[in-house]
């Protein structure tokens, strides 16, 4: 599997990484090498082998729906790069009038 420059730019967009042109060039070659190595899994992973997502058998964990103390809002936003009126401040996400 060889990754083109367009492939790398597409994946970078999905990953929200504003890569530089030099990074796009070097990553294309490196990712192709790494993926070629990783593709060796295909030599033995046949469809009759079930996938394992987790090494230890666990069931879903439930607890009673009871109110408990949690992080106060002021502490939760204290580490935000930008906050306003007790909320996280972000650039506009939805298009339209203000």
């Amino acid at each position: 599997m060889s990754l083109s420059t367009d492939d790398v730019r597409h994946v970078a967009r999905l990953a929200r990484l504003a890569l530089t042109d030099e990074e796009v060039d070097s990553l294309g070659a490196q990712l192709s090498d790494i993926l070629a190595y990783a593709e060796k899994v295909g030599e033995v992973a046949t469809s009759d082998v079930p996938p394992t997502s987790h090494p230890y058998p666990l069931r879903n964990v439930w607890r009673d729906d009871e109110p408990r103390p949690s992080l106060p809002p002021a502490e939760a936003i204290a580490t935000a790069p930008q906050a306003e009126d007790g909320r996280f401040h972000v650039p506009r996400i939805v298009e339209g009038e203000a």
Partner: protein, 495 residues
Amino acid sequence: MSADLVTATAAQLLERLNAGDVSAAEVAQAHLDRIEATETQVDAFLHVMHDEALAAAADVDRRRAAGEQLGLLAGVPVALKDIFTTRGVPTTCGSKILDGYRPPYDSTVTARLHAADAVIVGKTNMDEFAMGSSGENSAFKLSRNPWDLGRVPGGSSAGSVAAVAAFQAPLATGTDTGGSIRQPAAFTGLVGAKPTYGRVSRYGMIAFASSLDQCGPIARTVTDAALLLQAVAGHDPMDSTSIPEPFPDLRPSLGAGVDGLRIGVVREFLESEGLEPGVRDRTTEAIERLGKLGADIVEVSLPHAVYGVSAYYLIAPSECSSNLSRFDGVRYGLRVGAGTAEEMMAATREQGFGAEVKRRIMIGTYALSAGYYDAYYAQAQRVRTLILRDFAAAFEQCDALVSPTAPTTAFAFGDKTDDPLAMYLNDVFTIPASLAGSPAVSVPGGLDDQGLPVGVQIMAPVLGEDVMFRVAAALEAELGFDPTPRGPNALKAAL
């Protein structure tokens, strides 16, 4: 002079502290002095908690004087890998994207160390987001190997092993996703254990690959490693993958010996192409010694382990690409750029992440993207099943497995930084147990002909920490390894 306080093991310090022979304040001061005397050479810490450590130690002394019941590690200095959140104390995970972040909460590991009355002396350096096998991916500094300051300490728990090997602390926490406790412990002549997946809570341990990440102890002796693990292990309702079964008391295992145990030698690992002769020789000798001590040595095969690195480098990056999406410049850490939300996030992540982290996010995003999921992530998970079956079959023939921890001893800075794949292959022997969720520990096996430490790995079945520590303690007692760094390029600081 306080040299005997920094060379003492945690178990010895506890004995002296409990006997009233020394105060926690004296123990803390001795280690802070040692950090000051050696830190310019080893660069183990991102943040030394000087005042907090002295306050915690004074508190232990005061409560001891008042006759209060104290915790399992009362007054013992512990270094904390910077992946564990510490309330109000800088936590960066080795990344610029978290530079200056002071979390509003403690990880469960941090909280349990506080509950055990341990004295946390600082936050240790690491490969950014625990991605690396040399420490060279830290965004802040290079930690150096106390045995040879021109060589890497291993990674990702680079600062934790550098600190313990340099006698800056008797104990440190590490985390291991594909070998990040065991390989650096091997490189620095230490004991480093990864328990069964789920034994130690991941709450507040910054996530890399959630189905693999596990916390474990780093120490100069097997007994000390068991002590630290005992203090942090056990069920935690804050981590849904935390194992409900109680963690066993490891003390009876430490002196039980290996007489009558069946120990499996992994054929493929000893015949591996990249294995250095010095590492192979020390491993073979360790196996012979275990046989001499009464263990039954059997040869076993893990035929699919050779595919472990391939599977790992699909599974871990896939999970990391998802986990690291939380670093988006909104709730904590760095924010860069203006424009739309997407532009701000892309600019923040571009500037905040280092090269290896970007590489893995890219691999993972690609492997999970439309049309490729079945070819990559799902295939890797099938290989994981095959490796689990290999381990199950091997553990029908034996109680524990022995192998080298890493194919080489510590390498020089810059040796593998231009070739990511070569760096990844350093994890070839540690990754299989990670994929299987099995406990595994690295124990010093001696030195190679360059005078560098060799690690011997002991792997046990899931929940088999007791048998793993049994073998580790027996091997340690038989080999009598001296953990003091020595050699022409070793750390220079009189003890």
